[in-house]
C-alpha cells in the first residue's frame, strides 16, 4: 500500500508535465507556427507573397538586363468591381524605380471597400520585387459608381537570379465591405 501511495505522487508529476506539453503545443500553433509560416513566406516567397513597404535606396541601374513585368488583375468571388492594369506589360531594368497604376471602378449601387492581395510568379522573384508604393498596403474604399487610379511604384533588386526574365504580378481584389462594417 505504501508503494501505491508513493506512486500517486509521481502520477501527479507526470500528469502536470503532460498538461504543460498540451498547453505548450496549443500555444505553439499560434505563437510559433503562424508567425514562422509568415516569415518563411517572406523569405522564400511562398505563394508569391511580397513584403511590406520598401524604403527606396539609391541603387545603380543595371541596364544590361531587361525584365519583362506582366500585370494581372482579378476579382475574387462576387466582387463586382471593374479592375484592370493600366499597363499590361512593362520592360524594366533592375534597380530602376518605375510607376504604374491599376484602374478600379465600383459599378454597384452601394459604397464598397476592397483589399487587393498581391502574388508574384515565379515565387522566387518575390523577395526581389520591392514596392515603394502600393495600393495593396491599404484598403481601397470606392463610392457607388466611383472610379479611381490605384498607384503602384516598384523597383526590382539587382540581385534577382539571372535565369528570371519574366515576372508576373497579380492582384486579386477581395470585397471586404462587410468585414470593415463589422469592425466599426
Amino acid at each position: 500500500m505504501t508503494a501505491t501511495s508513493h506512486k500517486k505522487g509521481s502520477v501527479k508529476a507526470t500528469v502536470s508535465k503532460l498538461l504543460l506539453v498540451v498547453v505548450v503545443m496549443f500555444a505553439f500553433v499560434f505563437v510559433v507556427m503562424v508567425p514562422l509560416y509568415n516569415v518563411l513566406c517572406d523569405v522564400l516567397g511562398i505563394n508569391g507573397k511580397t513584403g511590406s513597404r520598401y524604403e527606396a535606396v539609391e541603387a545603380k541601374i543595371d541596364t544590361e538586363r531587361t525584365i519583362k513585368v506582366q500585370f494581372v488583375a482579378r476579382n475574387n468571388d462576387a466582387m463586382p468591381w471593374g479592375f484592370a492594369p493600366a499597363d499590361k506589360v512593362l520592360r524594366v531594368h533592375p534597380g530602376e524605380l518605375r510607376s504604374t497604376a491599376f484602374i478600379a471602378s465600383n459599378p454597384a449601387q452601394q459604397d464598397m471597400v476592397a483589399q487587393a492581395i498581391p502574388s508574384i510568379v515565379p515565387s522566387r522573384a518575390a523577395a526581389y520585387f520591392n514596392k515603394t508604393e502600393c495600393f495593396c498596403f491599404n484598403q481601397q474604399p470606392l463610392k457607388a459608381g466611383e472610379e479611381a487610379d490605384l498607384p503602384l511604384q516598384f523597383v526590382i533588386d539587382q540581385a534577382l537570379p539571372e535565369d528570371i526574365h519574366t515576372i508576373t504580378l497579380s492582384y486579386t481584389l477581395f470585397d471586404i465591405s462587410e468585414r470593415v462594417a463589422a469592425a466599426h
Binding site: 499590361k88 506589360v89 459599378p107 454597384a108 459608381g145 519574366t166 508576373t168 486579386t172
Partner: protein
Amino acid sequence: MYRHAKQLWQLAIFPLIAVVGGFSASVVAEPERWEVNMPVGATEVSRSIYDIHMLIFGISCVIGVAVFSFMFYSLWAYRKTKGHKPATFHDNTTVEILWTVVPFFILLGMAWPATKTMIEIYDTKDADMDILVTGYQWKWSYEYLREDGENIKFFSALATPQEEIYGSSGKNENYLLEVDNPMVIPAGKKVRLLLTANDVIHSWWVPDLGVKKDAIPGFVNEAWTRVNEEGLYRGQCAELCGKDHGFMPIVVKVTSPAEFDSWIGEKQQEATEIKELMAQNFSLEELMERGEAVYQRACLACHGANGEGGVGKAIAGSPVAMGDIGNHIDIVVNGVPGTAMQAFGGQLNDLEAAAVTTYQRNAFGNNMGELVQAVDVYNFKKGGGE
C-alpha cells in the same frame, strides 16, 4: 521504350484482368476501359513521371516478391501440423544491421532519379505564351495574356447534358470529360499556366500532360507544359471544391501553330461580333433561345432544370424574376454578396446576361412578357445601377 514498358505491365496484369472479365489489347491515347496504369502522356514531363513511377513500382515488386516468398515459405515450411519444434532465437545483430542499411541504399537509388525528374518539372525557362487559369465553383476560365491586343478570356464548363447524368438516357463516350470551350494551345510551344482560383481551392489536373497544380484563391501558382502531338487531352479538378467538384472537367486542345493563330483570330472576331450584336435589339423568341442556352450553362446547376431551385432559390414564381427589372439585372450582374449567388457580370457578356434575364422572366410559367436587351445591361453597368 515507354510503349514497351506499358505492354510489359499489361502483360503482367493480364491474368487478373482476364479473370475479372474483359481485355482490350490496343494501346491508344484515348482513355480505355480496364486501364490499369498511369498514362505515358504526351509531354516530356509526363514521360519522365511515367518512367520514375514504373521504376519505383518495379523495385517495389521485386522487394515484395522476395519478402512475401520468404513469408509464405516460412508459413508453409514451419507449420505446426508438420510437428516442427520451434527454434528459440530472438535476435541477430548482423542481419538486423543489414536490413536497416541495405534498404537505405535502395532508397538512395530511388531518390536520385526522382530528384532529376523533379528538377525537370521545375524548368522555369522562358515560355512562349502565358495562360491565366482560374478555378470557379464549378468551372474553369482561361485568359490568354497578350501583350498587344485584348486578352482573350472565356469560361470552360461541363458540356455533358443533365439528362445523361441524372436521367436514363445513354451516356456518350466522353461523359463528364467534355467541355463547351476547351483550352486551345499550339503544338510544340512552351506554355506557362498561371493558376489561381475565384473562391475555394481547386486543382488543375490533366494526366496526359503530367500537370497537376493547386489553384488557390488570392495566390498564383505556375506550371509549364509543352505538347508536341496534336489532339484532345482530358482531365478533371482534383481538389474537393464543393458540390460539383466531380463536374468540372478540363479539355486541352492541341493544334498546329497555324490553326492556333486562326483560332485566336476567330476569338477576336467573336469579341467584335458580340460587340456588334450588343447594339442590336432582339425579339423575345431570339432572346429566349439564347437565354435558355445560357441558363443551362450557368444557372441550372443551382436553380434546377425547371427553375424549381436547389442550392439557389426557385426562379419559377420568384419575386425577383417577377419583380423590378433593375433589381433582377442587378442580381444577375452583381450577385448577392454572402450567398452562393455569384456575380455573373464578369462571366457573361451583356447580351448573355440580357438573354438569361429575359429567359428567367418568361420561362417556368413566369410569363412576364418583358424583354431585356444587351444595351439595358450595358447601361446598367455603366450607370452604376440605373
